[in-house]
Amino acid sequence: MSEKDLKDKDTIPSVDEEKRDFLFVTTAGLAVAGGAVTVFSMVDTMNPAKDVLALSTTEVDLSPIEEGQSLTVMWRGKPIFIRHRSEGEISDASNVSVGELKHMASDESRVKNPKWLVVVGVCTHLGCVPLGQKIGDNKGEFGGWFCPCHGSHYDTSGRIRKGPAPLNLEVPPYEFVTDDIIKIG
């Protein structure tokens, strides 16, 4: 029997077209839905696992950090810069006219307590870790951080002032658990 014969309804009088369409659409629909769910759950295995997500908060005791000192801690595999800023550094940061900045943000909007600056230590250009945490590091022209990869200068509020980076150093979500302890994440 050729395909043409099958298409010819007269030779097969009992074909219920509506029933066939219904069966075809429901079968194909269910197969597609099942396939989509399966593919999604398989691809989802590549998302962060529960043990990775469990590492997404870090608590830091600030009390050992003297004025002018910095501390680098790890959070989600990235360095977090914590700087105990001096009066001079705070005034340097807050006296800048926001309008002149490449990425406009006031110093107040970037800190919870002006003495403590907490930023993600990853240059917003291409992801290098800027210098300026250690004594003797090049802190750049604005006394904050300097990225050695492509020469971006950050100020004492972690804002981009000069160089190719488009944005200020990111402020991670954090909160003061007590006056001396912060919880990042």
Partner: protein, 419 residues
């Protein structure tokens, strides 16, 4: 120079003219003329192919989470089960997928054995299939070692020690396989690499298997050659839809195993981390190796047992020359058919004694079953080739189908064929 009027338009035609993939698909998956009388046993080839894809996809995703180091391999598998999103599902699909793969492939092989699919002109097609089986066995064995549980470790120890049976070079081979003086980190490391590599080798051999298949097309339940266009129907839509239905049923069984009895075919001891100082009380391989394991243990001599076990698989290569009977399908071979079913039962018996302790009555049963296993190939097949008479064969696939449809005892237009 092309005539403008006949030049085909459209994007797919533009590509097809330069790279004929659509012609290829059309030729092999659409118009491909297929015997019109294939039964559901012909679903198992495509099911095996689909299972191979499932195994490779889940395997690649698992490899992204797994660590091949004896210190953390076990923990990394537990992490997949507990912490990775849907990791339990991923691992259970892969774990049970191995069992499903062997179920499918064994049925596929038994199908070929019943309908004489290994006979002229499909000898190479059959032999490539045996190569795939061997690669699958190696891959499955090494995969079972990766979780680094007790069964992993002791299975690896026992199987690699098989090679120590060879005189003189045996110990060197085993040390070489281990990369040391016991199953240890170097062993695990290379097993992981090979377990990842071999499936792609299988894909390559499967491609050759398909090329060889499409050279003469599928065999069919009558075992008769396709004689005219009337004996065939296009692959699409007739066999695509038949394969889809079979796939649906298969996936229900597969999913049933994964969701309701994921550890049914496994061994609980493999959830105990590997301990080189303590062998489990009762050590058995995965179910799909049990018949071969039974043959190994049936022989009281170490070397002979190992050789017989390897021979049990390798003998399949010689099947086209052991069975030289000119009729393919067991449907027309009354004697072969009896021995065939006895052989199937015998395989189950071997599997069963393989799981039993090697003592008492089980040893005797395994010896009798081993004798029949080899006797079937080496004595019964050659003798039947010479002496088995067959009834008249239908003159063509169409004639067979029509006579079946009208339930006549006498095949329409039959030709007398007596060996």
């Amino acid at each position: 120079m092309k005539d403008n009027k006949t030049e085909k338009k459209g994007f797919t035609n533009w590509i097809d003219e330069r790279l004929p993939i659509f012609t290829f698909i059309n030729h092999n998956l659409r118009d491909y003329p297929t015997p019109k009388n294939l039964n559901y046993f012909w679903n198992f080839g495509s099911l095996a192919g689909i299972t191979l894809v499932i195994m490779i996809v889940t395997g690649i995703l698992l490899a992204m989470q797994y660590t091949a180091n004896t210190e953390i391999a076990f923990d990394s598998v537990e992490r997949i089960m507990r912490d990775v999103n849907n990791g339990w599902l991923l691992r259970y699909i892969h774990m049970n997928g191995a069992s499903m793969f062997f179920i499918i492939v064994y049925i596929h092989i038994f199908r070929g054995l019943y309908y004489g699919s290994y006979k002229y002109p499909r000898e190479i097609l059959w032999m490539l299939g045996v190569v795939i089986l061997l690669l699958m066995m190696a891959t499955a064995f090494m995969g079972y070692v990766l979780p680094w549980g007790q069964m992993s470790f002791w299975g690896a120890t026992v199987i690699t020690n098989l090679f120590s049976a060879f005189p003189i070079i045996g110990d060197y081979i085993v040390t070489f396989l281990w990369g040391g003086f016991s199953v240890d980190n170097p062993t695990l490391s290379r097993f992981f690499v090979l377990h990842y590599l071999l499936p792609f080798a299988i894909v390559g051999v499967v491609a050759l298997h398909l090329v060889a298949l499409h050279q003469f097309g599928s065999n069919n339940p009558t075992g008769l050659d396709v004689k005219s266009e009337g004996d065939t129907i296009p692959f699409h839509p007739y066999y695509t839809v038949k394969d889809y239905l079979g796939l649906g049923v298969y996936l229900i069984v597969f999913a049933g195993l994964v969701f309701f009895a994921p550890n049914f075919l496994g061994h609980p001891d493999n959830y105990i981390p590997a301990n080189p100082l303590q062998t489990p009380a009762h050590i058995v391989p995965e179910w799909y190796f049990l018949p071969f394991y039974a043959i190994l243990r049936a022989v009281p001599d170490k070397l002979l047992g190992v050789l017989l076990m390897f021979a049990a698989v390798l003998i399949l290569f010689f099947l086209p020359w052991l069975d030289r009977h000119r009729v393919r399908s067991a449907n027309f071979r009354p004697f072969y058919r009896q021995f065939y079913w006895l052989f199937i039962i015998n395989c189950f018996v071997l599997g069963w004694v393989g799981a039993m302790p090697a003592e008492g009555i089980y040893v005797l049963i395994s010896r009798v079953a081993t004798l029949y296993y080899f006797g079937f190939f080496l004595i019964i097949m050659p003798l039947l080739s010479k002496f088995e008479n067959t009834p008249a064969l239908p003159s063509s696939i169409s004639a067979a189908v029509i006579s079946e449809k009208f339930d006549s005892k006498e095949p329409a237009g039959s030709e007398t064929y007596v060996k």
